[in-house]
């Protein structure tokens, strides 16, 4: 998984080399598309990890390993802000805590599916020079207990993405590339 991510970053860096706009830390429209793809790839990874963590058939040790991988997608201090249709108040969880709560849900069977719909915002530059964007995706959750209790919801997840120019040394050469990290996520229940 790490090597795949590295390849993405490297590919981007190769595309970026020599671009005048990159010298100033600015993102050209074509580069923005490549970054969108990278961001979406990270979001898809997260979706996949959430499905595995929530799946009751996933062994405990495997779930822990996947949580570690999932956590690596995020910038430090990232939080999930969760509200529901009945409870407007936003509850804030650290990412790890959110995964642990998901794993501990009291259902015997859980199904987590994703709509094939996403929305990617424009990238805006922050005071520190990093770029920030938001990717929106939708998840359908279904939980069922052996005693017949069923629960289902559809949630909208607005995921912060941070885009930053980084440098790495490969065979003595300094390669610059755009890296994407996930940040805070706002989770809202929808009426769908």
């Amino acid at each position: 998984m790490h090597s795949i991510k590295y390849v993405y970053a490297l590919l981007l860096s190769l595309c970026i080399l020599g671009q005048a706009s990159a010298q100033k830390g600015e993102i050209s429209p074509s580069r923005k598309q490549a970054i969108d793809s990278l961001a979406l790839e990270k979001v898809r990874d997260l979706s996949k990890y959430i499905s595995i963590i929530g799946n009751k058939k996933t062994p405990f040790s495997e779930a822990q390993r996947v949580m570690d991988r999932a956590e690596e997608l995020f910038a430090p201090d990232s939080e999930m802000g969760v509200s529901s249709l009945n409870r407007k108040e936003v509850n804030y969880y650290k990412v790890r805590k959110y995964f642990e709560r998901l794993m501990a849900l009291n259902y015997d069977r859980v199904s987590i599916e994703w709509y094939d719909i996403h929305y990617i915002s424009d990238l805006e530059r922050q005071p520190d020079g990093r770029y920030v964007g938001v990717v929106t995706i939708y998840q359908r959750f279904e939980g069922e207990s052996d005693d017949g209790l069923k629960y289902k919801d559809t949630t909208k997840k607005d995921i912060t993405i941070y885009v930053e120019r980084k440098k790495t040394q490969i065979q003595g050469r300094t390669i610059e590339f755009w890296d994407v990290m996930l940040g805070d996520i706002r989770v809202t229940e929808t009426s769908a």
Partner: protein
């Protein structure tokens, strides 16, 4: 040459990885899907739909594309950017708005960095363990290499009683020769905390933001949650509109225009601004 080869290899790996990674199960419910496509999912999407800068699926148009900001596309989107459940926004007002925005010599485009729009955020704080609503007004501000949202103003009903005073009555005052006695009568002025605001000038306006920051620094005010977010736009000449988020069944969902006002003069604009900021003066 080595870069070209590497790029070809990495492109192949990229394709492979993409195929591998789409393992998460996908929902296939057409009704839900069409609702989610129709929803204006982000404020960013409101801007892009209003300006006609993306296709039906939310993918950005290249600025060179014929469709980009085309009047036809903008007309199509504008109709679905209003809260259809609000009968208060009359259709002839919407039509006039559409005409002004789309059909003038210079069609009006919303600009994220163009100023003249701000956020109103209703929050709950705990003040000495009691829940209190604090309304924060935020605006975008340039800073160093980019921009950030900053708290421009605050309004809290709980602060109002501290600054209330009746300026129609004579009330208490420091007489005009107090200076000759080194203002020794200040002692009496500050004896009763209830009447202390009477000694402030006529034009004094309480600044809730300062009080808000002070109370947080003192540890008396603790953030609990965000209750509601909406936006106020004064960016279109002659118009004001409010943008709110709707989460309900059906296709008329997400970030939509929830109020629209035609502004005939600068003074109307100022009155409305003051009203939105809870200003009484």
């Amino acid at each position: 040459m080595i870069y070209v080869r590497a790029a070809i290899f990495f492109t192949w790996v990229l394709g492979l990885a993409t195929t591998m990674s789409v393992q998460a199960q996908l929902v296939s419910d057409m009704d839900d899907e069409s609702r989610l496509y129709a929803e204006t999912k982000q404020v960013n999407q409101f801007f892009r739909r209003f300006n006609g800068e993306e296709d039906d699926k939310g993918d950005r148009y290249d600025p060179k594309d014929r469709q980009y900001q085309s009047v036809k596309l903008r007309k199509k989107y504008l109709g679905m950017l209003f809260d259809a459940g609000n009968a208060g926004i009359k259709s002839d007002l919407k039509a006039q708005f559409g005409k002004d925005v789309l059909e003038g010599a210079n069609p009006v485009i919303l600009d994220f960095h163009g100023g003249n729009w701000f956020a109103e955020v209703h929050t709950t704080f705990l003040y000495n363990n009691k829940a209190q609503t604090m309304i924060l007004f935020l605006k975008l501000e340039k800073d160093h290499l980019g921009t950030k949202w900053v708290i421009d103003r605050v309004h809290a009903d709980m602060f109002d009683p501290y600054f209330k005073r009746d300026t129609t009555k004579v009330g208490k005052f420091l007489h005009p020769l107090s200076h000759e006695l080194d203002f020794m009568n200040l002692r009496k002025a500050f004896q009763n905390s209830d009447s202390v605001s009477q000694f402030a000038g006529k034009r004094f306006v309480a600044d809730h933001l300062s009080v808000f920051l002070y109370e947080i620094k003192k540890g008396n005010l603790k953030f609990k949650t965000v209750d509601e977010v909406k936006f106020h736009f004064f960016q279109i000449p002659g118009w004001y509109f409010e943008l709110s988020e709707f989460n309900r069944p059906g296709n008329n969902n997400g970030w939509l225009i929830s109020n629209l006002v035609s502004l005939k003069s600068e003074s109307e604009r100022n009155i409305l601004r003051k009203y939105l900021y809870y200003e009484t003066k």
